[in-house]
Symmetry: none
Subunit: 408 residues, 2 copies
Amino acid sequence: MDALKLAEQLVKRAEIAQSGKKIVLLVLDGVGDIRHPDNGFRTPLEQARCPNLDALAARSALGRILPVDYGITPGSGPAHLGLFGYDPRQIEIGRGVLEVVGMGMELRPGDVAARANFCTVAGDKVVDRRAGRPSNETAAEKVQLLQQKIPRIDDVTLIMAAGMGHRFGIIFRGPGLSAAVTDTDPHQDGEPIHEARAETDAARKTADIINRFSRMAREALAGSKPMNAVLTRGISEPPRIPSLTERFGLRCGAIATYPMYRGLASLVGMDLLQTGPSVEDEFRAYLDSRNNYDFFFIHVKPTDEAGEDGSSERKTKAIEAVDQKLPMLLDSKPEVFVVTGDHSTPCPMKLHSWHPVPLLLHSPRCGADGRRRFTEADCNAGSLGIFHSMYLFPLMLANAELLDKYGA
Amino acid sequence: MDALKLAEQLVKRAEIAQSGKKIVLLVLDGVGDIRHPDNGFRTPLEQARCPNLDALAARSALGRILPVDYGITPGSGPAHLGLFGYDPRQIEIGRGVLEVVGMGMELRPGDVAARANFCTVAGDKVVDRRAGRPSNETAAEKVQLLQQKIPRIDDVTLIMAAGMGHRFGIIFRGPGLSAAVTDTDPHQDGEPIHEARAETDAARKTADIINRFSRMAREALAGSKPMNAVLTRGISEPPRIPSLTERFGLRCGAIATYPMYRGLASLVGMDLLQTGPSVEDEFRAYLDSRNNYDFFFIHVKPTDEAGEDGSSERKTKAIEAVDQKLPMLLDSKPEVFVVTGDHSTPCPMKLHSWHPVPLLLHSPRCGADGRRRFTEADCNAGSLGIFHSMYLFPLMLANAELLDKYGA
């Protein structure tokens, strides 16, 4: 039994709402970086002018978190599961699930999700698995057409949403579905569309529905070259995990502008709050619904985008923009306030990475590490050390005095 | 599933050889030390003048590794298994295996190894389990005699090699052997030589072979007091572990002067490269076979010997000797370069210890912790933190950009 299981047992459920304590987890996506010749050996956190974060750092506990494990670079799914207190090494989020969730589609228990592609078929062969890379608009029209022509198959409702270019998402909703079904996507050109095959008896109905969808889609699209057929892959179900409310009794609100992060939050049972696109909008959304939740996840995207583009300058500005608005959050005096990232996206790499992420935790009982800034190097020297990000969750609850003592 | 299993799944096998990237793990045996009144509160790493390591440290990631686990002092076997990316708490290297491997004997799958002692028997009793502690030379002659007189028993070949004093190693090679056999060594004087007993049905043949060897050895040695019989113990098989090549697709070369470390490297599937005795010889051996391997393990012994002898001065000089030759390695620009130890051997203790080992990792994407030196205290403040040494392996692969992202 580790800290996660213990925290589930020890959490003071009855006290949470009554105490009025708020826990705020502010995630600056990809905020961690590395000193490198390309940035003059100064990371964006080191370059940024952040008077508010600096002042907070001195009175806070600092450390660094490992998103998944040593040397493992996470995608956004595993990285957020860790921050939400789930072991990302034990939970698989299927490709189809991540895809539909990333399109902002709402998944329910029992649903089966698939990533779908428009493709071009000639004779019996797939000749272009991406149908000539259609524009978003052209593809969206075809998704709408399919949705109209194939709203359901027997007792299974189909819910489709367009993605980028040739990609779209499908949710199959109905009784008796299972995700143990193979792809119809042959994964290379020059082969026929595969038949979906049930890998278990329980998945026979799903395989049948998908194969019928495959044929119906071809009929519906007949004559509309190059998008004249559909391939499905990554058939998957939402992970069977208890929500944060079930585990800890917390009412959780998520504030994020990108569908992917809203989707990931919804998988662990968070309510998705309305927000405008700016950091100020997001912080305002928190203040507006402050009384309705105990835990808030606030996701800020521009730090990661700048990292992926390799722009230390933009990443620095994105950090400064957060710092500037920080008093909006701090003035509301959350009991526990955390600033960290889901993973590092070092600008010199232009990619997600495995580097442990800087972490700042503030509460009335966090201690004060006395570091002058919130930077990678200051966090290396903090009182929290380096630990797996999934253990941040019990640490936040402890700092809110919402965990009972273990043993007498 | 932890970082090791994930790394096995995520490693980019196809890219390794093609990329031409080299990973070099330089192990200064027992390098870690402790500040103590005996050394004026300065460890050998702190005392040593190391301009090359100092310059590298500033541009590297530092940390400390736990060889096995908190408070656990490792032997060389577990310590190296950890460095090679195996969990030393899960893998047992039997006494016999370690003994023959330490003598430079080559073990094959299916072999059974035993540690053997010459002893003195009078009547039916063992009167001296160490046969009066014979010289290496005297004992080696008797090993040769036994090898000539008992080259095989039925279809089992016996391979013997002399060790220190009364000790020697035996490999039993043939079909249908098993190590589940008890010792013939009574473990105290005044008892008869024990019959080897099979602990499983599959081990009956082995027990029979060992008992016949026991009697044949007595006949062969008859009259040659004090070495007139042989005791066997620690009957064991090579651990059934996949090689580094199987796990990660790496071609691995080992450069070590001592048979023990060559043997340990061979157990995980490394090729043993020819080398002379000096550090310069070892670095030259690396340069000479640089094109044939992806991963190099280079083992330097004098740091540990000085530690075991309690000589801070010699340990300091051994570290300086490595530093002086370091440009030979660095000029070849390995993609990932690591300096660490298998364990600490603090001079004030004259023993292996549990203290976490200083670690320096350099790569184009390691970050730069900006510490001025490679010392225990600097490593405490590094970005890598303190972690189990087995996770160094995924971290090295990550730093070579040879691991795919986990999850989308």
